[in-house]
Symmetry: C2
Subunit: 347 residues, 2 copies
């Protein structure tokens, strides 16, 4: 093992890494990707199952752990690493708001329905139970914080409600105790579009349109106004006009189809809609972050959650032209709030 | 012809109807359905065409005429008649806000692209030019008012900009000088869904889903919250959960497929997105009515329109839980504003 890139593998133990004498001491890193099998009873199954969880740890060896989970299309690569960009690298990494020189970031790939045997769906409580079981498997008693955004915030709330002793704080960004009924209606249509394509023999085309529809809910009306100034153009080949709005969304749909399966999309989209946590059951100090222009998670639901929360909860609201996606785009505003929340108990 | 149901046919002339002696004089009615061929150059065509317009008149014979036009799914039956309900009978009819004992309501079936020969699209200016040509054909110089809602409001604005001498006032409800880019994006997806179904062999299924998607934009978040309290139910036959939101939208989609063709939907939906009128060109006194919860036509656009309007324009804003569809649902609030607007010049 090289001392200068002192990375730990899943098989190694960070306690075995020692500094060399006479050379600058590198910061010891705990940089592992691992698979761990845990056992729990999924919400929509009858009995306990062995479930394989793919996880990643990135940060300073021995440092306090922060669970970081994003939206349904995020994966365990939260921080940039040698293999590529992390989905939240603007906010998590060395010297960032979630500072991997001070903390270790632990993230998992979301479970999908096929990971749960015959379960009829995958729930946010399943993801939360899997994370709690993983902590046990990794011999981590209690994490410094659970930071979740979008679907990750829903899972964080389920985690705080079911495993309150396993985290000191919850930071929930752009996610609430329920899915809003209007958002459910629109996600249901996204799934119906995928199923229509699937039934008629072009699943990818369905998934593409479903993702485009999702994009219309993720971004703000203002951003659409600013981006889409070009006049429509008639195309004789397909005999209709094309609009600037379409071109933008088309690119988003095409890229999604390359990296996401329809089955995974259906399972995780439905998981959002099945989500429900009683705010009163959340008995962990909580920082909520909402976005004024978020049409997926309306502020009213976050206000309701804050008021009813079973522990001290504060709600911060940021202004953004990015709608729900502000959790990915507003690194500076979100970062400042994260630093404050993570320093809450002193570290 | 019965005196008590003294209706005029398109072929008759209202001047020939006389009151009988010795019996109560019935209000003379002008109740005609007609087809008239007019000639104009459609915006997306190269030359003048003969275009057949299907129209209806309902009201007191000789009374001032009010053009009344609704959304893309409305037709010329605005007022209830012997054949069935009118799409706006809550607001137009004997003794209603648009009082057919005092006025005559003139409405047309929207032109669709197939009515315009080889034109590449049907525009709001085409509908406006068709209405102006129809007035000439019916020997009506200037109408008392043009009352348009939704797509009808867009056509009303085009009419006021192009034919300002043909109406004394414009009342535009839930429609602006442009389609909002976010709304364009979502309507574009509706059309893509129809085309997906069409390409894969089930146009009706595509049209159904497109209409469901449209419904999510027509109604308010609050109404979804209030209507959709039932818990989701797993259906083993199709192997996924069903949500209350879906059941409501499903009914709306199914009923639309029964009464609307895909071609008509594609043409009129695109027509909305191609719409554009310079507010400065609207040189007719105008009453604008907006709805706080309308996500299809945001209030900001109506404020912009009011400020830039080429003639005196007032903007009224009503509060409603029905979103864009408030123009169909809030008869009492809209009715009061209509009465005020129609009495503006005294009649």
């Amino acid at each position: 093992m090289s001392l200068h890139a002192a990375s730990l593998t899943a098989e190694s133990d960070c306690h075995t890494v020692a500094a060399a004498v006479g050379v600058p001491v590198p910061v010891l890193r705990d940089e592992r990707n691992g698979d761990t099998v845990v056992r729990f009873v999924p919400k929509y199954a009858d009995e306990a199952l062995d479930v394989r969880i793919r996880w990643a740890v990135r940060g300073a060896a021995f440092a306090p752990v922060i669970i970081v989970q994003g939206g349904i299309s995020a994966d365990r690569r939260t921080v940039r690493d040698a293999d590529g960009a992390g989905w939240w690298e603007a906010l998590a990494g060395p010297g960032k708001a979630i500072d991997t020189d001070r903390f270790r970031v632990l993230s998992i790939d979301w479970l999908e329905r096929s990971d749960l045997g015959d379960a009829l769906a995958v729930s946010t409580t399943d993801q939360a139970d899997a994370l709690a079981a993983l902590l046990t498997g990794l011999d981590i008693g209690c994490v410094h914080a659970f930071v979740g955004a979008s679907y990750g915030a829903m899972v964080g709330l389920a985690f705080a409600a079911r495993h309150p002793k396993r985290t000191r704080r919850l930071v929930a960004i752009a996610g609430a105790h329920r899915a809003h009924p209007l958002s459910i209606a629109i996600r249901n249509l996204q799934r119906e579009i995928v199923r229509l394509g699937d039934r008629l023999g072009d699943t990818a085309a369905g998934l593409d349109l479903a993702r485009r529809l999702a994009m219309t809910t993720y971004r703000s009306a203002l951003e659409f106004s600013e981006r889409c100034a070009d006049a429509p153009v008639f195309d004789a080949d397909d005999d209709h006009h094309h609009f600037a709005e379409e071109e933008w969304l088309k690119a988003a749909g095409a890229s999604f189809v390359q990296r996401f399966s329809a089955a995974r999309f259906l399972a995780l989209s439905e998981s959002i809609d099945l989500h429900g946590v009683r705010p009163e059951d959340v008995r962990v100090p909580t920082t909520l972050i909402g976005i004024t222009s978020d049409r997926v998670v309306p502020l009213a639901d976050l206000c309701d959650l804050q008021r009813r929360c079973g522990a001290a909860a504060e709600l911060h609201v940021i202004d953004s032209r990015y709608g729900h996606d502000a959790f990915l785009k507003e690194a500076s505003q979100i970062g400042a709030l994260l630093v404050e929340a993570l320093d809450h108990q002193g570290t």
